[in-house]
């Protein structure tokens, strides 16, 4: 094996720069990144060395690295019990105080890099979104999640800035996504924070507690993907700054079957950065405007599902009843 590839997470604490200096002096490992943010940690790093003091480092993120087959060394300020707990909750392979010698840490990194890694599988993340003003995103999320729940363990997460899933399904507003994010950050259990409606597990959206932090939303998605086969996210209206779409394996765009809706969706897909989306054309009415043809032409996507003004769809999402057999097949196709 060639020299191990090590990524560190940049921190103001001296252990990180000392480690890099020791690594350079011994030349026994390669420093391939000193990451300022999570996305800068390369996929092919053998070992990640991370300090618990970094704001965006959470147990879920560390667990994600471990699941991806990277070895993780966690460093916490000496005597800082919560920092140590955070690293242990993330399942870091080694947890050391920051007064550990840098040469010792280099040796530890070399040793860990040669141990076999065991990548774990994660559930599929499906994001349901659409342009501002597209009606039916939440209905489509609920019905998609219900269809999935028949086959595999599935959870619906309401990450819409104006959440309505709990209201529609008659659930109490708390616990919500903020509670779940805090529990994940503390390395606590999540089962008490998830509600069951019929065959579906649901996490209610946080209302009136400020927007969910980017790190918190990421933790929720990755944390649930460890426990469920399917994680369905109702994200609300899409914006170019959307942080959730890049986390998804699949995407569903809901488009209003009106000229304005098609134009808005076409504008959205021009800036789209994410998995190739499936298109749901909603509220199609018979008339001179051929929404299916116009969606194909303007958006460039063949609608996977075409929905008319059907009260049974709304009723199904309100009562948590799965769609009928034919429609179920269509909804199953959304995540195929």
């Amino acid at each position: 094996m060639s020299r191990p590839r090590i990524a560190t997470v940049l921190t103001a604490r001296p252990w990180e720069s000392d480690f890099v200096m020791a690594a350079r002096a011994t030349s026994s490992v390669r420093i391939v990144a000193r990451a300022y943010e999570a996305a800068q940690v390369p996929d092919d790093a053998d070992v990640v060395i991370v300090g618990s003091e970094v704001a965006w480092v959470t147990p879920v993120l560390i667990g994600r690295w471990v699941d991806a087959g990277r070895r993780v060394i966690g460093i916490h300020p000496a005597g800082d019990a919560p920092g140590r707990q955070l690293l242990r909750a993330g399942r870091a392979h080694e947890v050391r105080p920051d007064d550990t010698g840098s040469v010792e840490l280099v040796g530890l990194a070399r040793l860990l890099a040669h141990q076999p890694a065991r990548p774990a599988t994660a559930g599929t993340v499906i994001v349901v979104t659409g342009p501002e003003g597209a009606p039916g995103r939440t209905e489509v999320s609920i019905l998609t999640a219900l269809t999935m729940a028949d086959r595999q363990s599935s959870v619906l997460v309401d990450l819409d800035p104006n959440p309505s899933v709990s209201l529609r399904l008659g659930l109490a507003p708390r616990p919500d996504t903020s509670d779940l994010a805090e529990s994940l950050h503390a390395g606590g259990a999540i089962s008490d924070l998830i509600r069951r409606v019929g065959s579906l597990d649901v996490v209610a959206g946080s209302f009136g507690r400020g927007p969910l932090e980017r790190t918190a939303a990421r933790d929720i998605v990755w944390g649930l993907a460890r426990s469920y086969d399917r994680v369905i996210l109702d994200t609300g209206p899409w914006t170019p700054a959307d942080d959730l779409v890049p986390l998804a394996d699949r995407a569903i765009i809901v488009c209003d079957a009106s000229p304005v809706g098609v134009v808005r969706t076409a504008g959205m897909t021009m800036e789209w950065m994410g998995p190739e989306p499936a298109l749901v054309l909603n509220r199609v009415v018979p008339g001179p405007f051929d929404a299916v043809a116009e969606a194909r032409r303007a958006v460039g996507l063949d609608p996977t599902i075409v929905l008319g003004f059907d009260p049974s769809i709304r009723l199904g999402s309100l009562t948590c009843r799965p769609p009928d057999v034919d429609r179920k097949r269509s909804f199953a196709g959304l995540a195929a």
Binding site: L10, T11, A12, S17, E53, V54, A55, S178, E213
Partner: protein
């Protein structure tokens, strides 16, 4: 011991304190990144390129050389090109471009 800030009466206070701590941590990390940029030397850049196996292009007063970094010595750089190995004194480098 359980975190006392998880007590139902103190949950909001705990959340606010954690938010402030995260803001301070982020500011510290930003400062660390700035310090790193300011202190980094040309040799550090070349060592980064060697460790990451980046392709580099090096300008001297007389010519331009491209390849991967084979080694970074105390006062020189060795670039592996398709045909040969080239040693350049660090003092003679006027510019470096790296590509991943």
């Amino acid at each position: 011991m359980d975190d006392p800030l998880r007590h139902p009466d103190l949950v909001d206070l705990g959340r606010e304190l954690r938010k402030r701590f995260a803001a301070v941590s982020s500011a510290e990390q930003e400062a660390a990144a700035a310090v790193r940029r300011r202190r980094r030397t040309l040799r550090d850049r070349l060592l980064d390129a060697e460790d990451r196996n980046d392709r580099i292009r090096v300008w001297t007063a007389a010519a331009t050389f491209s390849g991967t970094v084979e080694a970074v010595g105390a006062d020189h750089l060795v670039i592996a090109t398709t045909a040969s190995e080239l040693t350049i004194g660090l003092d003679h480098i006027v510019g470096v471009e790296t590509t991943r």
